[in-house]
């Protein structure tokens, strides 16, 4: 089990006094593995990603990343110290920064900063946009930038929350293939949540189904 990047044990979560959104969930992801979780809206997929990212605290259970406890009943590592990436559906690029600056944002104290950014710009075919601002580029281009920005700090695990659902079908399908090629080249560990079976199949090696807060 040494090559596990993520281990989740008996995770439970509820928002306030409401019913549990995550119930006794267990999940393991190995290094370089690409896993997707399929399920209808409201089944707890996005909540699971937020719990792994440290944006929510669970009621009980344990989240371990690379053999280090991120969350349990005693420990809670804040999101900024987890080194996990999350790409969401809504546009969360910083509007006051150019494409280049957005991608640079998460790279700290790295001499090869420029090289990393230019490699990602090239890999995601957005090098011509480097000096543009988010409002000057299309929705598809913005999602590519968001993906490059999340990949730039070289996260241990990259999570994607229906990243392309706001885009039109044609663009979405072309991105699936391009993006999965990028993941393969970088041997990234991926956790994708989606309600689109085709997206899950094209982009990941293993598909899991989630219903009412648990994997089935």
């Amino acid at each position: 089990m040494d090559n596990l990047i993520l281990e989740i044990k008996d995770l439970n979560h509820a928002y306030g006094e409401s019913d549990l959104t995550i119930k006794d969930l267990n999940l393991n992801i190995s290094v370089g593995e690409r896993v997707s979780i399929l399920g209808p809206s409201g089944c707890g997929k996005s909540t699971l990603l937020r719990l792994i990212a440290g944006l929510e605290k669970p009621n009980s259970g344990e989240i371990i990343k690379k053999a280090e406890v991120m969350t349990n009943h005693k420990i809670f590592i804040p999101p900024e110290k987890r080194n996990v990436g999350l790409v969401v559906q809504e546009k969360a690029l910083f509007p006051h920064l150019s494409v280049y600056e957005n991608i640079c944002f998460g790279i700290h104290r790295n001499k090869d900063k420029n090289k990393i950014v230019f490699d990602l710009l090239e890999l995601l075919k957005i090098d011509s946009l480097k000096n543009k601002y988010p409002h000057e580029i299309s929705g598809g281009e913005q999602q590519r930038v968001a993906l490059a920005r999340s990949l730039a700090p070289n996260p241990d695990l990259l999570m994607l929350d229906e990243p392309f659902s706001a885009l039109d079908e044609e663009l979405r399908k072309s991105l699936y293939e391009e993006v999965s090629k990028v993941f393969s080249e970088r041997n990234s560990s991926i956790l994708l949540v989606t309600h689109d079976a085709y997206e899950a199949e094209v982009m990941t090696d293993k598909q899991l189904r989630m219903e009412k807060g648990n994997l089935i």
Binding site: L55, P78, P79, E80, E90, A92, G106, H108, R149, P153
Partner: protein, 307 residues
């Protein structure tokens, strides 16, 4: 003895007024149910405009123009005539010094208020804290308190601090720029806070989450994400505070250091001596300095709207 009785009476009146303000504040807070509004998207939706034509346009123009004509154009023309009659001789070193005092005081207060409001709102957003929220609400009450009442309270506070901190020395804080600035900050914090608060409502929570996931949190988030996104709100709050401080008279009269004059004070001094011609120039200067922020603000609002 007479001064002591008057001072006690004014303090009691000031306290009573503060209680009334506090009651109104609590009523307002309860009516709102403590709701806080934040946005999940930062997209701007433009107002729909309807261009009026013909008679309707004329009526709309008159409704907007008449108050400006009576309340602004006529007095300014009259004041300009008076200023002209003293052959512009008023624009001497003393006038420049008063104008500089006014500008530096208002700018200083603006920067302090905007900075304070930014820090408090950031603190509430980043790590909600009841104490900080209450402090912000308490400071905001200051806007409802007349400058005179605030000044009376501030004199008492400064006298107490002078006795406590500098008991062997002469008065240090009483009648100092420090006391005056504190009074201004209490009086105008609400203006800065409202602008910063609405600025924060336009920054979606996903911005904060993205920043944290990319390893930037706390002060670095304030400097690298919030401050640049709040540029307009910060500038607006500085300008709003400036336009208010420029006009502030009662607190300045009571709390200013000796021989320290602002434009409002010199206008008041001349007017109280019935020297209306001499009062005209500083009065116009106040209007001009007060107009600068308004012009800036309306330009900023216009440029933030598409088309």
């Amino acid at each position: 003895m007479i001064f002591s009785i008057a001072s006690n009476l004014s303090l009691k009146l000031a306290s009573l007024l503060l209680i009334i303000v506090g009651v109104f504040y609590l009523i307002e807070k309860n009516t709102r149910g403590g709701s806080i509004y934040t946005s999940n998207n930062s997209n701007f939706s433009p107002n729909l405009e309807d261009n009026l034509q013909g008679f309707k346009a004329l009526i709309a123009f008159l409704i907007c123009f008449i108050p400006i004509f009576i309340g602004f154009i006529v007095p300014i023309v009259e004041l300009s005539f008076w200023a002209y009659e003293v052959n512009l001789g008023f624009f001497n070193d003393r006038f420049i010094s008063n104008a500089m005092n006014t500008l530096s005081l208002s700018l200083g207060t603006g920067i302090i208020c905007a900075g304070l409001a930014l820090l408090i709102n950031f603190s509430v957003r980043f790590k909600p804290n009841k104490l900080v929220e209450k402090l912000s609400s308490l400071l905001s009450l200051g806007y409802a308190v007349p400058g005179l009442i605030l000044a009376v309270g501030m004199v008492q506070l400064m006298v107490y601090l002078d006795t406590f901190l500098f008991s062997g020395l002469d008065i240090v804080l009483t009648g100092s720029i420090f006391g005056l600035m504190i009074a201004y900050v209490i009086k105008t914090y609400a203006l800065a806070n409202s602008s910063i608060e609405s600025g924060y409502q336009r920054i979606s929570n996903s911005m904060d989450e993205s920043s944290r996931l990319l390893g930037i949190s706390g002060w670095r988030m304030l400097i690298n994400v919030h401050s640049p996104l709040m540029k307009t709100a910060l500038l607006t709050s500085v300008l709003l505070v400036m336009s208010d401080v420029v006009k502030e008279l009662p607190a300045t009269l009571i709390l200013r250091p000796f021989n320290f004059e602002t434009l409002a004070v010199s206008t008041y001094t001349y007017a109280s001596e019935e020297r209306m011609l001499q009062a005209a120039a500083p009065a116009i200067a106040i209007v001009i300095i007060g107009l600068i922020p308004i012009i800036f603000l309306s330009k900023m609002i216009r440029s933030s709207r598409p088309n």
